[in-house]
Subunit: 453 residues, 2 copies
C-alpha cells in the first residue's frame, strides 16, 4: 500500500460515527417506501454511452469507462457511469417490461457519478434515493399525488433533519399560460427557461432576455407575473385566473396542481410543508406535467435537494410508452454538509451496546460465551481486545461511546456477573441469559449539535 | 430514451422478486456484523490508479475512468473503479488513522468492478460483503478466530442457502514446512504457488512444475504431501508432525491454525462446517498467516465464494503499520446463479401485505385513510391503482403475491370494513385502526424451489 494518501475532492467519505447517520436516513427512507408498497431495485452502475448522451445537458459530466488492458488501443468500453437513477430506471422498465406488473412502483437508493467541478453540496460521487411510479400507456394523476405524499412521509420521519418545504408546479400551467398569451413554440420554450432562471437572476434581467427574443416589454412581464404566485393551498388557482389568461392546457394543469397540493395537505406538520410555487420549471426537458423541488430549511443555498416530476415519454420501446412520475432525494447533498459541519453525529462509533471485559487471556472463551448469550437476544456487543486492567477496558468503551461494560467476578469458585453503565457509574449483578439494556441503548442514536452561527 | 435495449453481459440485474432475496441476505449479514460490534462504512467507488496498480495481478482487470469532456485530450482522470474492498479499506485506515480507534472492526457491503471476461459466477459488477479487524502495530491472533466466527455466524443465519464449508489454512504452516524441507526464498514461493494450483491441476502436473524448477522428485512430492491433509478439528497437527519436518515458523503456524479451527467448533451445525485444509494458499500475495476459503455445498464449481486472511503489512503510512485480518463474501457470486436458475425467489413482488381496494375514484381518499392507518402500525400496503371491479382488483393483488385485500362496504350509510385473505378466500370484518396480519405475512418470504437436476 502506498505511503502517500491524498483525499479526492468531490468523493466524500464518512467516519463510522457519521456513517451511522447516513445509514439511519437510508433505513428510514427504505422502510417508508416499503410501507407504501414500493419495491426496491438496483440497476448496474453503467449504461451504454449512447443512452447517457441522449441527455445532452449532462453529457459533459459523464465518466466514461475503459478497461486498463484496452488503454493502449485507445478503445473505450462504450460504457459510462450513470449520473442519475431515472435514465437507468427507464431503461430497466423497457428491458423488463414483460416481467413487471404495471403500475410499477419502485424505490432505488444508489450512488451516482458526475464529472462536474466539486463544490459545497455538489459531489462527483453521491447517493440518491428515488421513488417512481410507471404505468403502461396511461398513468392517472393520483400517482403524482402519491409520490409527493410518500416522499413527504419519508422526510417527516427523519426527525433529526431541520425540515423541508416541497415546492410543486405543473408544466402544463406554465405552458398553457404562455400559449394563452399567444406565444408560439419557440417563445414558449424560451419563457419556460426564463421562469427557471428567476431563482438565480433578478426579474428585470430575465425580462430583458425575453424582450431580446422579440417579446414586447409588457408581454415579457406578463409571462413572468405567474411565477410570483406561491400559495400553501389551492388558492393559487384564483390568483392565476385573476391574470386573465385562458387556455385548455392551463385549465388541465391547474386541476392537476391543485390535486397534488390538496392531496399533500394532511401531511403538513412542524417539519414539512408544501406550496404551489409557480416559478418552479425544472431545467431538464423530459418533464411533461407535475414538477417538484424541495428546499431544506436553513440550507436554502444548497438549492433543491429533492426534485422530480411527471415524464410521459421518457421510457418507450417505440411501440409502447411507459409514462412515469418520480421524485429523487439527494441523500449526500442533504447529509454531507451537515455531517462535515458537525451538526449531526452518532452517540457511538460502534454498534456495540456492551463491552464484555476479559479478565485474562485464559478466560477469553468465557467472555465469548457471555457475548454469544447477549447476541442471541439481539444485543450488539464486543469482547475486549486485550486483558488489560479493568480501568483501561472501561476507557476503551468510553472512547467508542459503548454505554455498558460487562464484568465477570470469580469469588472463591463462585462466578458472578456484573454490568456497569459507564455513563452513570451504576453497577449491578446481571444474568447473561436474561439481561438486556433499555431499548434506547440498543442502537446508536443520532445527536443534533447546535453550532454557533 | 433509445428504443433498442441490449442487456450487458457481466452486469447482472435483478427483478423485484429476486432483489428481495438479495436484500434479505444483505440485511442478515449486516445485522450479524453489527451484533458482533463491527461498524459499517462505505468507501468511494474509485481509487487513484497508481494505488490499484500496485496489485499487479488484478491490474489488467481495472476499469479506468475518464471525464467525457476530457476524452478528446486523451487525458485520464487518474482514477479506476475499485476491484475489491480490501485495498480501499487499507487506504481508508491510513487516511483516517488519527480519527479511528484500534482495533478497528468494520464491515463493508458494496459493489466492486472487474473488467474480466464474464462467466458463470464471475461478473464485471458484483456485490461483496467484507469484515476486517485492523490493529495499530499489533493484532492478536484471536481476531483471526473472531472474523471466522462472525462470518460463520452470518452464513448460518441465511437459512435459505444450501450450506457452506469454511476451509482454513495458515501461510506460516506452508512456509515453515517448506523452509523445514530446506527450500530457499525462491523455491518456497514456487512451492506456495504449486500448492495453490492443486485445486485445478493433477498432483503429478504440479509436481512436474517443481521438478522443472530444480527440486528432485522426492522433494517435490514431500512439498505437496502436506496439502493432502484436511481435518475437521485440530488433529491436522499430528498429521503434519508425522511428516517429520521441523521449523519454528511451522510451529507458530500450527498453533494459530489450531486456534482458528478449535475456536470455530462451537458454530458448526447442519448448514456450516469448518476444516483445516492445508492445500489452501490463496493466490494474492499480501496474506501473511491465516487464509480462508469457503465452498457452497452443491455449488463447488463456483470456487471459493468467501475468502480472506491475515495481512500484516497491507496498510502502512511508512511509519506505522496496521496489521489486519478479514474475510470477504461474494454476495453476487453466491446469489446470482441461484436466482437465475430460479432456485430462490420471494413469495411476492412488492412489499405490500395488503391491497386496499377502491370502490370508485370519489372514495379514493377514504382508501388512502385506511392505508395510512395500516402503515401507522407498520403494515406495508398499497391502494388500488384504479376503481376496477373487485374481481379485477383481487387479480391485481394475486399477480403481485399480495396476500390480503381490504374492502369497504357502504350499507345504507353504515360503513363496514372487511379484509380477505386471497390465498384461503376467507373474509371477515376488520377495524383499520387495530387489524394486523400475522407476522409471517408482514414481509415477503424467500421460497426455496428444488429444481429437477
Amino acid at each position: 500500500m502506498s505511503t502517500k494518501i491524498t483525499p479526492l475532492s468531490g468523493f466524500p467519505e464518512l467516519l463510522p460515527e457519521q456513517r451511522v447517520v447516513e445509514q439511519d436516513v437510508v433505513d428510514l427512507l427504505r422502510s417508508t417506501f416499503e410501507l407504501h408498497g414500493f419495491a426496491g431495485i438496483e440497476t448496474r452502475a453503467v449504461e451504454p454511452l449512447e443512452q447517457l448522451l441522449t441527455k445532452g445537458e449532462t453529457s459533459k459530466e459523464v465518466y466514461v469507462l475503459r478497461r486498463l488492458q484496452e488503454q493502449e488501443s485507445g478503445k473505450d468500453a462504450g460504457l459510462g457511469l450513470h449520473f442519475d437513477l431515472t435514465v437507468p430506471f427507464a431503461r430497466y422498465v423497457v428491458e423488463n417490461a414483460g416481467k413487471l406488473d404495471f403500475p410499477f412502483r419502485r424505490f432505488q437508493i444508489q450512488k451516482v457519478w458526475r464529472g462536474e467541478r466539486p463544490q459545497d453540496g455538489r459531489y462527483r460521487e453521491f447517493t440518491q434515493a428515488d421513488i417512481d411510479v410507471v404505468g403502461r400507456d396511461v398513468l392517472p394523476v393520483h400517482h403524482d399525488v402519491e409520490v409527493a405524499r410518500v416522499m413527504l412521509d419519508a422526510l417527516r420521519r427523519i426527525e433529526f433533519l431541520p425540515g423541508f418545504r416541497l415546492q410543486v408546479n405543473n408544466r402544463k400551467v406554465l405552458e398553457g399560460y404562455f400559449r394563452g398569451l399567444g406565444l408560439d413554440d419557440a417563445t414558449t420554450t424560451l419563457a419556460m427557461t426564463a421562469v427557471d432562471r428567476l431563482d438565480k437572476q433578478p426579474v428585470e434581467a430575465v425580462a430583458a432576455m425575453l424582450v431580446e427574443a422579440g417579446l414586447d416589454t409588457e408581454l415579457a412581464h406578463r409571462c413572468l407575473a405567474i411565477a410570483e404566485i406561491c400559495t400553501p393551498d389551492s388558492s393559487f388557482v384564483e390568483r392565476v385566473r385573476a391574470l386573465g389568461v385562458e387556455h385548455p392546457l392551463l385549465d388541465e394543469g391547474l386541476v392537476e396542481l391543485a390535486a397534488v397540493v390538496d392531496g399533500c395537505a394532511s401531511l403538513v406538520g412542524p417539519t414539512v410543508d408544501v406550496v404551489a410555487d409557480l416559478k418552479i420549471a425544472r431545467g431538464l426537458d423530459y418533464y411533461t406535467g407535475t414538477v417538484f423541488e424541495t428546499r431544506m430549511r436553513g440550507h436554502e443555498a444548497l438549492g433543491s435537494i429533492c426534485s422530480g416530476g411527471r415524464y410521459d415519454a421518457l421510457a418507450t420501446d417505440g411501440r409502447t410508452t411507459y409514462p412515469g412520475v418520480g421524485i429523487s432525494l439527494g441523500v449526500s447533498r442533504v447529509l454531507v454538509p451537515l455531517l462535515n459541519r458537525g451538526d449531526l453525529v452518532a452517540d457511538r462509533k460502534v454498534p456495540s451496546a456492551v463491552l464484555v471485559a476479559v479478565t485474562d487471556e485464559e478466560s477469553r472463551g468465557r467472555s465469548d460465551l457471555v457475548a454469544a448469550s447477549l447476541r442471541a437476544r439481539g444485543v450488539p456487543c464486543e469482547v475486549a481486545a486485550t486483558a488489560a486492567k479493568f480501568g483501561k477496558q472501561i476507557r476503551y468503551a468510553e472512547r467508542r461511546g459503548i454505554p455498558y461494560v460487562w464484568f465477570e467476578h470469580d469469588d472463591e469458585g463462585t462466578t458472578t456477573h456484573q454490568v456497569k453503565d459507564i455513563r452513570s457509574g451504576e453497577q449491578h449483578d446481571a444474568d447473561p441469559d436474561t439481561w438486556t439494556p433499555p431499548a434506547a441503548d440498543l442502537r446508536p442514536q443520532v445527536l443534533i449539535k447546535e453550532q454557533p452561527q
